[in-house]
């Protein structure tokens, strides 16, 4: 014999509450968080290097946190832009959570930061489930990864506010079919914007910065259909 309790509780409620607190706290002080997700090697760091440099040139106070299981290589690369950068070593954890981010920001994030870019652990599965208090979630895919990436990782692409295609200078040798990729993105996330970028050719330079600033100024970001159902 036992008692049965209908305990209707969302499992990730703790992370979501922490993310909401962080979002409110940062937005109030004028900082907007951009969460970057992709598989390893899609070019998050390369894109961010370029966009941080542009932010500095344009006088936009930006900062970046980059997460990896090991090494400080990415922080060293991003720091060359001259903006404040911090490496998060997850010690094997495959994603960031809101309270981890909050801990790393404490006593580090410069007061006047307008845009905080968070380069998540390279992984399209787990980071998708964790809200970090971001106002803009960006999912990247490089042209060499195949047009069906959005179908293979529907949660990551389905919850994106912006989809960025990287390495378009290699689109031709990789036989990347842009139309098929776009159709696949629309299947899991109708209406989301897809932008093309290449840090080699310069395509899409500033696109990330512009979208981030627009979100920081309070412009409405895309509302993914998939983000609606949550219990």
């Amino acid at each position: 014999m036992c008692r049965v309790v209908d305990l209707q509780q969302a499992v990730l409620a703790k992370n979501e509450a922490a993310a909401q607190i962080l979002r409110t706290e940062l937005t109030t002080r004028g900082t907007t968080v951009v969460n970057l997700l992709s598989s390893p090697g899609s070019g998050k760091t390369a894109l961010l290097e370029r966009e941080l440099l542009l932010a500095r040139e344009r006088g936009v106070p930006a900062a970046a946190l980059t997460a990896d299981l090991a090494t400080e290589n990415d922080a060293e690369r991003l720091a060359r832009s001259g903006v404040p950068v911090k490496q998060i070593l997850t010690d094997g954890l495959c994603h960031l959570e809101a309270d981890m981010l909050a801990r790393h920001l404490h006593n580090w994030l410069p007061e006047d930061t307008r845009l905080l870019f968070v380069e998540n652990v390279g992984n399209l599965v787990c980071p998708a489930s964790y809200d970090l208090g971001e106002s803009l979630r960006v999912v990247l895919a490089s042209v060499t990864e195949g047009e069906d990436k959005p179908l293979k990782y529907p949660t990551a692409f389905g919850l994106a506010h912006l989809v960025v295609v990287t390495k378009t200078d290699m689109a031709e040798p990789a036989a990347f079919d842009e139309a098929v990729f776009r159709t696949n993105v629309q299947q899991v996330n109708p209406g989301v914007e897809v932008v093309l970028t290449s840090v080699r050719s310069g395509e899409g330079a500033g696109c990330l910065l512009d979208r981030a600033l627009s979100a920081a100024e309070g412009s409405a970001v895309h509302a993914p259909v998939m983000a609606q159902a949550r219990a």
């Binding site: 014999m1 036992c2 049965v4 309790v5 305990l7 209707q8 489930s129 389905g158």
Partner: protein, 135 residues
């Protein structure tokens, strides 16, 4: 593989509920897992056993119920199973889905306490007698 984080979150929440009720043991925990929640039930079951060790949940069974993804069209009001990978474009009229009705749930639906005496004190916890199939 974030199933360990999910398992730890489940254990944490059930432990809290157990403390507030003075429960001394847990027979089972039931979870609703939406097919778009990004959680693998088998991997979760493995992690759950590890996460329960040394807690009031030690030895508890985990039951997961899969919740299919369904969407509703804002234009023609059609409702369909989105499948996997999800199809969020309306199969009837070709417009974008207006709502995802279900499919992203990740929720503790039910806990069976090993003790019989404890009473719920939290307002959001509803106690009911077990139905015959549960006894």
């Amino acid at each position: 593989m974030h199933e360990m984080s999910v398992a730890l979150a489940v254990v944490d929440q059930v432990e809290q509920a157990a403390r507030s009720r003075g429960a001394v043991g847990v027979e089972s925990v039931s979870l609703d897992v939406g097919e778009l929640a990004g959680v693998v039930p088998d991997a979760l079951a493995f992690c759950f056993e590890l996460a329960c060790a040394g807690t009031v949940l030690e030895g508890a069974e985990l039951f997961t119920r899969s919740v299919p993804g369904t969407a509703r069209c804002g234009t023609c009001a059609d409702v369909w199973d989105v499948g996997m990978p999800p199809q969020l474009i309306c199969p009837a009229c070709g417009n974008a889905a207006a709502d995802l009705v279900s499919g992203r749930e990740l929720r503790i639906s039910e806990v069976r306490w090993a003790d019989v005496e404890a009473e719920a004190d939290a307002a959001h916890v509803r106690i009911r007698e077990p139905i015959p199939q549960e006894s």
